[in-house]
Symmetry: C2
Subunit: 285 residues, 2 copies
């Protein structure tokens, strides 16, 4: 929990004067980090030791240490203390909040993702005879994106968002094939079945899903992101972004494993698009 959140949550444990300090800090956090303890004390109309005690109450060593913590909380601009979008938020507020909560989610994802599993997944993918990406609903677009990436590697890639096609594809999979199932909750029945079918047919099943979920149980390898989903609007948001970043990571690992020559091919793939685009110089049209 960052310092700002901490201040808000423990606002009730503060004494009257400490509360004054809290109010001033919350009102001008950016000013605070560039103020001396004397200046802040004056702003809050309290004594300097009170400010110091306030800092200690928040488990910091003292005022300078507190400023350090505060600076870290403010690292990405002045964040909204509450990142949840609210009824009365204007465009500025909800835009900032969504960016912030997405970045925060990526940060947790980074901390929680298991590197050795990523490495294993990359292993498996580089050796795959065929790679399939399956997702339903919001995860379908993640699967499409994965296809778009891995397709460039000149490996057989398929991607279906149709359960019948997924099913047929899963049944036809064999040893050496890799099936990547994407589902935030890991509780989508159809996808669990697909995973089970693929597994029965000796394919390696990688799950980009929640730990301990029904889907995870069907998988040979589980990549869990454990992003706290922002349920305010009943839509998958942060989780899906984290999934995409994970796809990026797998794709990157894949290319690194393949060596530098391989990457020249990627450049060719990109260059092949040139004909379909307006030239960067000639923008007259």
């Amino acid at each position: 929990m960052n310092v700002l959140e901490k201040i808000v949550s423990s606002v009730n444990n503060f004494s009257k004067s400490e509360r004054k300090v809290a109010d001033v800090i919350l009102a001008n956090p950016q000013v605070t980090i560039h103020s001396s303890i004397a200046a802040l004390a004056k702003m809050a109309d309290v004594s300097e030791p009170t400010v110091n005690r306030f800092c200690r109450r928040l488990d910091t060593k003292g005022f300078p240490d507190f400023k350090l913590h505060l600076a870290q909380s403010l690292a990405n601009g002045t964040p909204y203390v509450n990142r949840h979008v609210e009824e009365e938020d204007g465009p500025e507020a909800y835009t900032a909040k969504i960016f912030e909560s997405t970045m925060a989610a990526l940060d947790t994802a980074r901390q929680r993702v298991d590197i050795s599993t990523i490495n294993k997944a990359v292993d498996v993918l580089t050796q795959a005879k065929k790679i399939s990406f399956f997702g339903l609903g919001a995860s379908a677009s993640v699967a499409h994106d994965a296809q778009n990436k891995f397709f460039r590697f000149n490996v057989p890639v398929v991607c279906f968002d149709d359960i019948v096609m997924q099913r047929m594809s899963a049944i036809n999979s064999t040893e050496g094939d890799v099936v990547v199932c994407i589902s935030h909750t890991g509780r989508t029945k159809n996808l669990c079945e697909i995973a089970a079918i693929a597994k029965e047919n000796d394919a390696t099943v990688i799950g980009i899903t929640a730990y301990e979920s029904p889907l995870a149980r069907e998988c040979s390898l589980v990549l869990s992101l454990d992003v706290p989903e922002d349920t305010d609007l009943y839509m998958p948001m942060a989780s899906r972004v984290a999934q995409l970043v994970l796809i990026d990571i797998l794709a990157t690992g894949f290319t690194l494993r393949r060596g530098s020559k391989f990457r020249e091919n990627l450049k060719k793939v990109k260059d092949s698009l040139r004909g379909s685009r307006f030239d960067k110089k000639d923008m007259s049209l």
Copy 2:
């Protein structure tokens, strides 16, 4: 540019002793922010004023101010000074780097995005008779995702990744229809044509694309993200994530504009999925 990057980039402008300081800081940035100037001077085997001068050279007011800046750079864990994935990077390194560069990209996107345009776009979308999302290649999955979101609002939404379908759809658009064209570069010829056709037919064309691009010129409203694309691997990565977040923002703006009753409907949409999922309690299967 954050302080760490700044140190690395100006390492040649440093004097011998300043360089010692730089080395110590880069080696233990986390330690540095909790050290006094005396401690750091000792670690670097230089005098205290040298450390102070070092801080000033980096455009900070002095040592405490420098620590503040450093703390902000380290806010999200110890970042890789160089965020670009390199040949010799192991799984841990490239995973962290991709997370970091994506977060950094979102941060720039947030700073650069124009709030008033977002507001206008939300305006237009809430009043739309029909919303179409068009993208090609990597942007196609963003379009799909957008469809998945806006579809829940019970508004007519279409999404095509096939240029023929896109073209037909664009020709059939009329006043009151909104066409959202997604392209990072804004130079995909086919998409520019689609935008032009839609515009000719009096649809409002929103471009999620680069400023001053051919596509932007065809649009009524341009939402530019200006994310520096990580071209290391010749694949769209950060740009696409930023686009998705923008979609989230538009969707959020949409629901807020519609009021709280509307959001109850969203809950219903989500609840309707329950039948397709394993119960959270009953995870026996």
